[in-house]
Amino acid sequence: MGNWVDIGAVNDIPLRGARCVNTPSGKIGIFRTLDDRVFALRDHCPHKGGPLSQGIVHGASVTCPLHNWVISLETGEALGADEGQVGTIPVQVENGRILMATAALAVAAE
């Protein structure tokens, strides 16, 4: 997986919080968990398109602000009784910087 692009510092995102990255193929939510892991999901709940980056981050999941669907940050899948999945984008952290795989972005955004 090539084309790793630096999108900012880990510390730019609050613990148990999220920020957005604007891309030509739509918004990507970048999430930071309590145990300092970073995830990237398309900012679009599989239910009604709610902006997941605005939700409450807990454990390795986020609750959509519109109708409270809980989405796994690890797989992008809806948890509990709901069914649906949102695209995930590989990210890695190096020296406190977040790198996102833009190749996957093109695929994920299709």
Binding site: D12, P14, V21, S25, I56, H58, V70
Partner: protein, 814 residues
Amino acid sequence: MTTNLVVVGAGMASGRALEHLFEAAPGQFNVTLFGAEPRGNYNRIMLSPVLAGEKTFDEIITHDADWYAEHGVNCRFGETVTAIDRERKVVTSVKGETPYDKLLIATGSAPFIIPIAGKDLPGVMAFRDLDDVNRMTTAAAKPNARAVVIGGGLLGLEAAAALRMRGMEVVVLHLMGHLMERQLDPAAGYLLQRELESRGIKVHCKAQTKAILGEDKVDAVLLDDGTVYDADIVVMAVGIRPETRIATDAGLQIERGILVDDQMRTSDPDILAIGECVEHQGAVYGLVAPLYKMAEVAAQTLTGATAAFRPVQTATQLKVTGVSVYSAGDFAEGDDREEIVLRDASAGVYKRLVLQENRIIGAVMYGETADGPWFFDMLRQGTDIADMRDTLVFGQAYQGGSPLDPMAAVAALPDEAEICGCNGICKSKITGAIAEKGLTSLDEVRAHTKASASCGTCTGLVEQLLSLSLGDEYNPAAVQPMCPCTDLGHDEVRRLIVAKQLKSVPAVMQELEWTTSCGCAKCRPALNYYLVATWPGEYVDDNQSRFINERVHANIQKDGTYSVVPRMFGGITTPNELRAIADVADKFAIPTVKVTGGQRIDLLGVKKHDLPAVWADLNAAGMVSGAAYAKGLRTVKTCVGSDWCRFGTQDSTGLGIRIEKFMWGAWTPAKVKMAVSGCPRNCAEATCKDVGVICVDSGYDIVFAGAAGLDIKGTQALCHANSEDETIEIIAALVQLYLEQGRYLERIYKWTDRVGIDSIKAAIVDDLAKRRHYYERFVYSQEFAQVDPWEERVNGKDAHEFAAMAELNMVAAE
């Protein structure tokens, strides 16, 4: 090949028939459903709790729009079918003709209106559908309103009790010598009357209504004996008659109801009929259990299966909270009958069993009705009771010398014993579902079996079956945990936050042994609120535990944009403020500007990154956040009061502004809306607010615990104040008490229902020292709460919330 099925009537019977039909033959029927009411199928039996304010209408909806859509039902609600052409097989309604292959008539029944003078006056109503309930609720909202209920049967008494609960003066007029004479004998009727009278309901038996008096609306009811009862509304609940008009016009065979055979077919084999509108073997039914049975049979007939409807014995229960009445079978006296009676006057218990040849043929119970289903079961089975005759009336638990244990009684019920009469669900069906599907809660049992999902009177039995099946794993008395992260309930968590001096979200989770690393979207906002409310000035707000609206101080919309509502104290604005709002709307191309119900202006469709700049401009014109997003004080609506109005008694506008300026910024368990009206005409609609003030000549009447959202509830009186200062002290103390006792997301009216109005009055009205104490705590916490969040963010706070982390302009290099 699909069959075109037209259904006339969208009530409980046809709703149940459609459920069976879609289950048995999915996709086989193309259904068009006509209903006279402008809404789909709801649980009509539960209108009484809705009228009493114990349930909301939403809670009793059986089929919502999604359900109809899912099954492809063409809904024609609010459209009455006026004619059936059996030759051409079409029905006619306002919008034209609809062809059918099969027609199902389920028009139900119409309330019987006594043909007396005044019956058409505004204010005379039946108790049949949601519109009637809404009319009664509106009437009950008026202080000291009076209702006369004509008819002391099941429906009339439920209406009377509910209206009384809503604060009306209620008189029940009953033609017969005792209440509910079709279900109760005189002794039980007397006990029931005494109970209702103790609740402040006047009962007048042997009352022959002569006329309803009034010019352009109801004023009073006149009886034959000359008695006159004043009335704002008259509720006619004297009975129902099958609604057969379209069937009569179509030439179908009719007696009292539309005649049907065992397969629910009318005299035209392509037309079926079910529900209260039909007559089967000379009997007309009005209770839900037989109607559901008809629905099942009709669905089977339509799908070509064989099934037959058999006359059904029914038992009756009255749905008035705190009153237990049960009756089944035939309880008239007769030479060939014997009876067993148990009376305990001081405990208000009365049980009477009517026996014929050692078999129960009737049962009437008042006060203690748990054994009702057991007696009813033996009645239907024709069980020979000779062996247990001596102890029979004491109930099932006394048979075989076993001690009084309700669990043992339920355990001893045979598998085929009926638990839920409304839905015809027997014991084995419930225990089977619990075992097979691993059900662990009442809600799950309701979802899977429908038991206890209609009138709810069998809830206790279903819970006992749950606990019988699950043992210790089921504990109905257990406190509802806050969320799946803990076993503790809201109150316990609050108590421990104080007792253990817990001052941060992680501290609470650590000390109270949360099962998740950092909670969930349910508990985190609740904990954050409890900490804010418990430790004002000390606790540092956890932004990441706030819902997005409170995190960015604007309301998220469905498309991810936000709405912005500046405060307009008391609903008063100025040309300068309006100019600033107009300029902001232009400058940021805000698509929608709307006047809200709370007397202020909403700017909708603001992009998130524009929020701080929008606020900066509004701040510059002197406006602060209206907290339209907050679990906190929203608005104080006012009327123009003595400033302008010729009826105004006090300066309601000024008082409203004072209250809002004093109380804005406070965080509360759920939103708080207030209003101040300058006279009892109440133009500010204070009587449906969380807290309201009605100005009168002598001062200020303070009311609270109203609602006009999911629930509609008139306020209850708190007390009278003589000055603005006193009014403000009382309201602040009340809100502080709520702030300390309310569970997160629990509105004031729900909190009041939970803790009881007396406990609130004891703290705020009766005990001046306590009131002062709560008031001072409110004043203290306001020192930290009254900071304009917009200004803080204009000055750079939480800047990361409003800007993207990065802009990637390059498309992935491919």
